[in-house]
C-alpha cells in the first residue's frame, strides 16, 4: 500500500510542524490516529477504544489475537507510563504493545515495546531501546512516513479534517 515515503529529514519537518501546531497533547492524538491508520492500510481491523485505554486494538480478519496498542509520544526526556495504561493493554486478550514514537530524533521511528517488560513510572526515553520489542508484520516506519506525508495537510487543518481524510480512504477490509 505504501506509495511515497518521505525521507527522515522531511519526516522531522512534518512532525515538527504538527507538534508546534497542536502542542504535545494534540500531537499525541494525531500520532495515534496516523499509527492506527497504518495498521488499517495493512488489512488490519482496527478498533479505537472509546475509553482511551488501550488506544486501539488491531486484529487481522480471521485471527483471534492481534495487538492492543497504547500509543506514547515522548517529546521530552521522560516518558510517563501510568499503571492504568499498562494494565489495560496487559488485561486485553491481545498482545500488549506500548508504541513509543521516538521524536525528536534524527531518525523519527516507532518503538513497539512488549508491555510485559515495562513498569509504570517515568522512563528515560534513551533507555527504551533496552526493552523487549514486538515485531509488527509490516514495515511500520515506512508506512507511517507515507501516511504522515499524505495526511499532513489534513492534520494541520483540524482534527475533523484529519478524521474525514482518514475515513475517506476506502478501508481495505
Amino acid at each position: 500500500m505504501t506509495t511515497y515515503t518521505p525521507t527522515s529529514s522531511r519526516c522531522i519537518a512534518l512532525l515538527d510542524a504538527l507538534l508546534e501546531d497542536h502542542g504535545p497533547q494534540g500531537f499525541g492524538r494525531v500520532m495515534q490516529k496516523l499509527l492506527a491508520h497504518c495498521f488499517r492500510r495493512h488489512e488490519y481491523w482496527v478498533m479505537n477504544n472509546p475509553i482511551g485505554v488501550p488506544d486501539f486494538v488491531a486484529v487481522r480478519p480471521g485471527k483471534v489475537q492481534g495487538y492492543a496498542v497504547e500509543v506514547k509520544t515522548a517529546t521530552g526526556r521522560k516518558l510517563q507510563l501510568k499503571e492504568r495504561e499498562l494494565k489495560a493493554v496487559r488485561m486485553s486478550d491481545h498482545y500488549p504493545v506500548v508504541a513509543v514514537l521516538i521524536f525528536p530524533d534524527l531518525n523519527p521511528r516507532w518503538l513497539c515495546i512488549d508491555a510485559h517488560g515495562l513498569q509504570p513510572g517515568a522512563l528515560d526515553t534513551r533507555s527504551l531501546v533496552r526493552y523487549q520489542r514486538v515485531t509488527i508484520d509490516f514495515d511500520l516506519d515506512s508506512e507511517f512516513r507515507a501516511v504522515l506525508a499524505e495526511f499532513h495537510e489534513a492534520a494541520m487543518t483540524s482534527s475533523y479534517a484529519l478524521d474525514h481524510a482518514l475515513h475517506s480512504e476506502a478501508p481495505t477490509v
Partner: protein, 728 residues
C-alpha cells in the same frame, strides 16, 4: 558480672607532634587531668594514644614529604616513638608504635604479659581483637575529639551532618558517598544530549526550510497542472522529451536549426534541459522577429496614415483660411465698397475742416469787437462803420453771440470731424485684417500644395484635390490587411513557442519539487553517514555508556546510603534514651529539657545522604523547636557531649576509658559544673582522661572526682624541648 576492660596505665612519648623529648605520663585508675593553656601539647598527648592504638589520626592534615604531621621536626633522630601500656586485671599489654620522619609506614609491636612480642600485621590483628573496636568506633566510644564537637556548633547543615555522621561512625560511608561523582557523569550526559540536540536542531531547521520550500514548489507545480503523484524523475524526463520535441518541430517548420540537447538523466539535468529549451525559445523568437515583415507593414501603414492625416489637416487649414476671407468680405463689404466709403469719409472730413476755419474767423472778429468795447466803454459809434452804438448793449450782444451760437456751432463741427476721422481709421483696420486673412489663406494653400508634392514623392499616383483623400484611404486599407496577415502568422508561431514554453515551465516546476526531495534525501544520507561513521554514533555510544555508569553509580550510592541510613537509625535508636538523659543533665535547659535526633535523607549533588534534625522539646507542653535555631553555642556543645556520651555508653568494646579533649569549649560555669558531675558519674565504671585549658572545669572536676581519685599533669612547651609534663 561485667568483664573487666582495658585501662590506660601509662604512656611514653618521644618525637611525636609537639612532644620532642621523652615524656611519660602515668594515668590514675579513676580520673586523669591534663591541664595546660592552649598550644602546650594537650592534643598531642591524647593524639599519641590514638596514633599508638590505630596508627592514624582522625583530623590529620594532608601530609607530604615536607610536611610530616606525626614526627616532631626537631627530634634529633627524626623518629616518633609512642609506647602505651594497657592493663586489664593482671594482664598488661605494651603497645609500641614508631615512625621515621617522611615515611608513611609505622612499626607496631605489642608485648603481652607473658613477654610475647607480636609485630607487623599480626600486631594489627592482635590489637584489633584486643581493643574490640575499629578506629571509627574509637571516636564514638572512647575519644571525644574537640573537632567532633566543633562541627555541631557550625550553622551550616552540611557540616553538622558530617559531624553527626562522624559521631555515629558513618564518616567512612559519607566519604564513600562523597567519592561517588554522579554529577560529572550527569553533566557529561547533559553535554552529549546538548550536542545531539544541536545536531537535531540543525537538521530540523534545514528540514523545515526544505519543507517550506517544497510546499511552495508543490503549489507552483499544481498551479501549472501537475499532479503530486507524478512528481518524479521519470515524469520529468517525459516532460523534458516533450519540450525538446516541441522546439525541434518548431525549428523545422520555421526553417531554423534545431538545438542539440540530449535527454536528461538526473534531476539537475532536467534543469539543464529546461534552460537550454528556454534559450532556444528565446532565440526562435528573436529570429522570427528579425525575419518578420510586421514592422515594415506596420511602418507603411503608419506612414500612409500619417500622410493621410497631414494632408487632411493641411486641406482643412487652407479651406478654413479661405472661408475666413469670404466671411470678412460678407461682413465688411467688398473692396470697392470699402474704397467708396473711404472717399466719402475723406471728403466729408475736408468739408468740416473748412467750416471750422470759417467759424474760427468769425469768433476772432467777435473777440476783437468785444475787446474794443471793453477798452472803450463809452464808445458811441462803431470805429469800422461809424454806425451809432451803445457800448454796453453792444458788448452784451457780442457776448451772447459768442457763448451761444458760436459755441454750439463749434462743438457740432468738432463732432463731425471726429466721426469722419474714426470712420476712416475703422476702414483702415478692416482693410488690414482682410489683407492679413488673405495672406494666411495664401500660406495655407501653399503649405497644402507643398505637402501634396511631398506625398507624391512617396505615393506617385497621389492625385491633388479631393481624390487624394480616397486614394490615401485605399492605401491605408491595403496596408491594414497586409499587417493582419503578418500578425496572424506571427501569433501562430508564438502559440507554438508558448506551448513549448509551458512544457518547460511544467518541467521546471516538477524539477524543483523533485530536487527538493533529492535534497531531503541528501540531507538524510548525510545525517545517516554521520550517525554510522561519525560523531553521532560516537556520541550515542558514549551516552549509553555514561547512562549505564550513571545507573551503576546511583545503585552503589543507594546501597551505601541504605547502610548509612540503617546505621544512623540504629545509632540514634540505641542511644536515644541515654543521650536524652545526658542532655537533661548537661544542658539543664529551663524549658527545652528533652532532646531528639531524627535522621532523614537529603539529595546532595544527585546523591541521597543522611541529614539530621536535632530537636529539643519541652516536657511541660510538648512544644518542640530546632536545636540549632534555639540553643546557644554552649547548649549546642552540651548537645554534642550528650550524643557522644550517649553513644559511648551503648557501644560494645574492650576499652575501659574515655578521653575528652577540651570538652568545655563555650560552656558557661553551670554547664561546666554539670559536665564535671556527669563525668564523675562515669568514674564508677570507666577511667576518665580529660585535657583542658579551663581552670574552672579543672576545679569542678577535681572537686567532683575527689582529690585522691584524680591524677593531674600540667604541660609546658618550649620550642627546643617540646612538651614537658609535671604532676600537679
Amino acid at each position: 558480672m561485667a568483664e573487666e576492660k582495658l585501662r590506660l596505665h601509662h604512656i611514653e612519648i618521644e618525637g611525636f607532634r609537639g612532644v620532642n623529648r621523652a615524656l611519660r605520663l602515668d594515668f590514675g585508675d579513676r580520673g586523669s587531668l591534663i591541664c595546660a593553656p592552649n598550644g602546650q601539647g594537650k592534643t598531642s598527648v591524647l593524639g599519641a594514644i590514638e596514633w599508638c592504638l590505630f596508627g592514624e589520626l582522625a583530623y590529620q592534615m594532608k601530609e607530604n614529604t615536607t610536611n610530616d604531621e606525626v614526627v616532631n621536626m626537631h627530634h634529633p633522630t627524626g623518629e616518633s616513638v609512642v609506647r602505651l601500656t594497657l592493663r586489664r586485671e593482671s594482664e598488661e599489654f605494651v603497645i609500641e608504635r614508631t615512625r621515621r620522619v617522611g615515611r608513611r609506614e609505622t612499626t607496631l609491636r605489642v608485648t603481652t604479659t607473658q613477654g610475647e612480642v607480636v609485630e607487623g600485621s599480626d600486631a594489627d590483628s592482635f590489637l584489633f581483637r584486643l581493643l574490640g573496636l575499629t578506629f571509627d568506633d574509637f571516636y564514638r566510644a572512647s575519644f571525644l575529639h574537640q573537632e567532633s564537637v566543633r562541627g555541631l556548633l557550625v550553622d551550616e547543615p552540611r557540616v553538622r551532618n558530617e559531624a553527626l555522621d562522624r559521631l555515629f561512625g558513618l564518616d567512612k560511608l559519607r566519604d564513600i558517598l562523597a567519592s561517588i561523582q554522579i554529577r560529572p557523569v550527569t553533566e557529561a550526559i547533559d553535554d552529549i544530549r546538548g550536542k545531539q540536540t544541536r545536531v537535531y536542531d540543525k537538521l530540523s531547521g534545514a528540514s523545515q526550510q526544505l519543507e517550506v520550500q517544497r510546499h511552495r514548489h508543490l503549489q507552483e507545480a499544481l498551479a501549472v497542472g501537475l499532479s503530486e503523484r507524478n512528481l518524479t524523475l521519470d515524469a520529468g524526463r517525459a516532460l523534458a522529451r516533450e519540450a525538446l520535441q516541441g522546439i525541434s518541430d518548431f525549428s523545422a517548420r520555421n526553417g531554423m536549426a534545431a538545438p542539440e540537447i540530449s535527454d536528461p538523466e538526473t534531476v539537475d539535468e532536467l534543469e539543464r534541459v529546461a534552460r537550454r529549451v528556454k534559450d532556444a525559445i528565446r532565440e526562435s523568437r528573436l529570429n522570427a522577429a528579425n525575419q518578420s515583415t510586421v514592422s515594415a507593414a506596420s511602418g507603411r501603414l503608419v506612414d500612409v496614415e500619417a500622410m493621410q492625416g497631414t494632408l487632411q489637416g493641411a486641406a482643412t487649414v487652407a479651406a478654413l483660411a479661405a472661408a475666413a476671407v469670404e466671411r470678412h468680405i460678407q461682413a465688411s463689404g467688398s473692396d470697392e465698397e470699402l474704397r467708396q466709403r473711404k472717399a466719402e469719409l475723406a471728403s466729408k472730413r475736408e468739408e468740416v475742416r473748412r467750416a471750422i476755419g470759417a467759424q474760427e474767423m468769425t469768433t476772432r472778429l467777435l473777440g476783437d469787437a468785444m475787446s474794443l468795447v471793453r477798452e472803450d466803454p463809452g464808445m458811441k459809434s462803431c470805429p469800422v462803420c461809424n454806425q451809432e452804438v451803445v457800448a454796453s448793449t453792444l458788448f452784451d450782444l457780442l457776448e451772447t453771440r459768442m457763448s451761444g451760437v458760436q459755441r454750439t456751432e463749434h462743438e457740432r463741427l468738432i463732432f463731425d470731424l471726429e466721426r469722419a476721422t474714426n470712420g476712416l481709421d475703422s476702414l483702415g483696420r478692416v482693410e488690414k485684417e482682410r489683407s492679413s486673412l488673405r495672406e494666411a489663406s495664401a500660406r495655407a494653400q501653399s503649405e497644402y500644395e507643398r505637402i501634396v508634392q511631398d506625398a507624391q514623392r512617396t505615393l506617385p499616383g497621389l492625385p491633388v484635390g479631393s481624390e487624394a483623400s480616397d486614394f490615401l484611404q485605399a492605401e491605408v486599407n491595403a496596408a491594414r490587411i497586409e499587417l493582419e496577415q503578418i500578425k496572424a502568422a506571427y501569433l501562430n508561431r508564438e502559440q507554438e513557442l508558448d506551448a513549448v514554453d509551458q512544457a518547460v515551465d511544467r518541467l521546471r516546476a516538477l524539477q524543483k519539487v523533485v530536487k527538493d526531495d533529492e535534497d531531503s534525501a541528501g540531507l538524510e544520507a548525510k545525517v545517516s553517514a554521520q550517525s554510522q561513521d561519525g560523531e553521532e554514533n560516537v556520541l550515542s555510544e558514549e551516552l549509553n555508556r555514561l547512562a549505564s555508569l550513571q545507573e551503576s553509580l546511583e545503585a552503589i550510592a543507594r546501597a551505601v546510603q541504605g547502610v548509612a541510613r540503617i546505621r544512623a537509625h540504629e545509632a540514634i535508636d540505641s542511644s536515644r534514651a541515654t543521650t536524652a538523659e545526658y542532655y537533661r543533665l548537661l544542658c539543664n535547659h529551663p524549658y527545652f529539657d528533652r532532646l531528639r535526633i531524627d535522621a532523614q535523607e537529603k539529595m546532595l549533588a544527585g546523591i541521597a545522604k543522611n541529614s539530621y534534625v536535632i530537636r529539643v522539646f519541652s516536657s511541660s507542653d510538648g512544644k518542640a523547636t530546632l536545636a540549632s535555631s534555639r540553643l546557644s553555642t554552649a547548649q549546642m556543645n552540651c548537645v554534642a557531649l550528650s550524643i557522644y556520651l550517649g553513644l559511648s555508653s551503648v557501644l560494645t568494646h574492650n576499652l575501659g576509658f574515655v578521653i575528652l579533649d577540651d570538652p568545655s569549649q563555650n560552656l558557661d560555669t553551670s554547664h561546666k559544673a554539670s559536665l564535671a558531675g556527669v563525668l564523675s558519674g562515669l568514674l564508677s565504671g570507666l577511667q576518665v582522661i580529660v585535657s583542658t585549658q579551663d581552670l574552672e572545669l579543672e576545679g569542678f572536676l577535681k572537686e567532683r572526682f575527689g582529690k585522691d581519685q584524680v591524677t593531674t599533669y600540667r604541660l609546658a612547651w618550649t620550642a627546643k624541648e617540646g612538651t614537658s609534663a609535671s604532676a600537679a
